[in-house]
């Protein structure tokens, strides 16, 4: 697996302004926390870091996708590919799963086979189920 380059965060001046609505981030945080109290400072930090994450995810997927092939539209596949490759995005594997097409599945099997794997009789039955 190729280790993705660590993406430097998009340059931007530090600021106390947030783009995302704090109330929504609070709701999201409460949905996971067993204790109720969330200080304003923590809420601010969480909002900022979620924003940073959005920038990071988009930027990294874009850089990763268009290093090999030209193109300008960031697609779902680019995201799922990045998620699949990046250790720190492992928590998203179920959230942004890789879609697999029949021909890709066959290609995968072919590669597996040439890499020395021997079970290839599932190629027909397994490949139909996905699309």
């Amino acid at each position: 697996m190729v280790e993705p380059k660590t993406q430097p965060p998009v340059e931007r001046p530090p600021s106390a302004e947030t783009f995302l609505p704090l109330s929504r981030v609070r709701t999201i945080m409460k949905s996971s926390m067993d204790t109720g109290l969330i200080t304003n400072e923590v809420l601010f930090l969480m909002t900022k870091c979620t924003e940073l994450f959005v920038r990071h995810l988009a930027g990294a997927a874009y850089t990763e996708a268009f290093r090999q092939q030209p193109g300008e539209t960031l697609k779902y596949e680019h995201l799922s590919q990045l998620v699949n490759k990046s250790k720190n995005l492992e928590f998203l594997l179920q959230i942004v799963p890789e879609k697999i097409r029949v021909h890709e599945f066959k290609e995968m099997l072919r590669l597996n086979r040439s890499a020395g794997s021997d079970d290839d009789d599932e190629s027909e039955s397994g490949s139909e189920s996905d699309e």
Binding site: V10, F19, R24, V54, R55, A58
Partner: protein
């Protein structure tokens, strides 16, 4: 608490804007990709929150602090976020402090003598 699952979605327009800002100008984003990023962001927030909560509990704290979040980010392999978040936090803390001070000074000017008197009293108390 959360009544509808949509309450966990982040606003589309803001997400679109954040994405746009982090890509070159000529780039565009498919609808599906944008939806996936928005979903991922919500899950990220939940993930970091619950990890920070676990960290706080481990230290016998009931609620999470800014420090818990920053430490969690490092542990989750997002340490590249930490420096700029620390800068943001600094700006935020200064803003909160300034707000407090300007509020206090407003109060001071209206009841200047009272405030002064109590401040002196407090100082004396502290000295003892």
């Amino acid at each position: 608490m959360v009544e509808r699952i949509e309450d966990l979605n982040l606003p589309n327009a803001v997400i679109a804007r954040l994405i746009k800002e982090s890509l070159p100008e000529s780039a565009s984003v498919s609808k599906e990709a944008r939806a996936a990023i928005a979903r991922a962001a919500s899950v990220f927030a939940i993930f970091v929150t619950s990890s920070s909560t676990a960290l706080a509990h481990k230290q016998n704290h009931k609620t999470i602090t800014a420090k818990d979040i920053l430490q969690t980010l490092t542990e989750l392999d997002f340490e590249s976020f930490v420096p700029s978040l620390m800068q943001d936090l600094e700006v935020y803390r200064k803003m909160v402090k300034d707000k407090k001070e300007s509020k206090a000074s407003k109060k001071d000017s209206s009841v200047a003598e009272n405030a002064n008197a109590s401040a002196t009293a407090a100082a004396e108390e502290a000295a003892e």
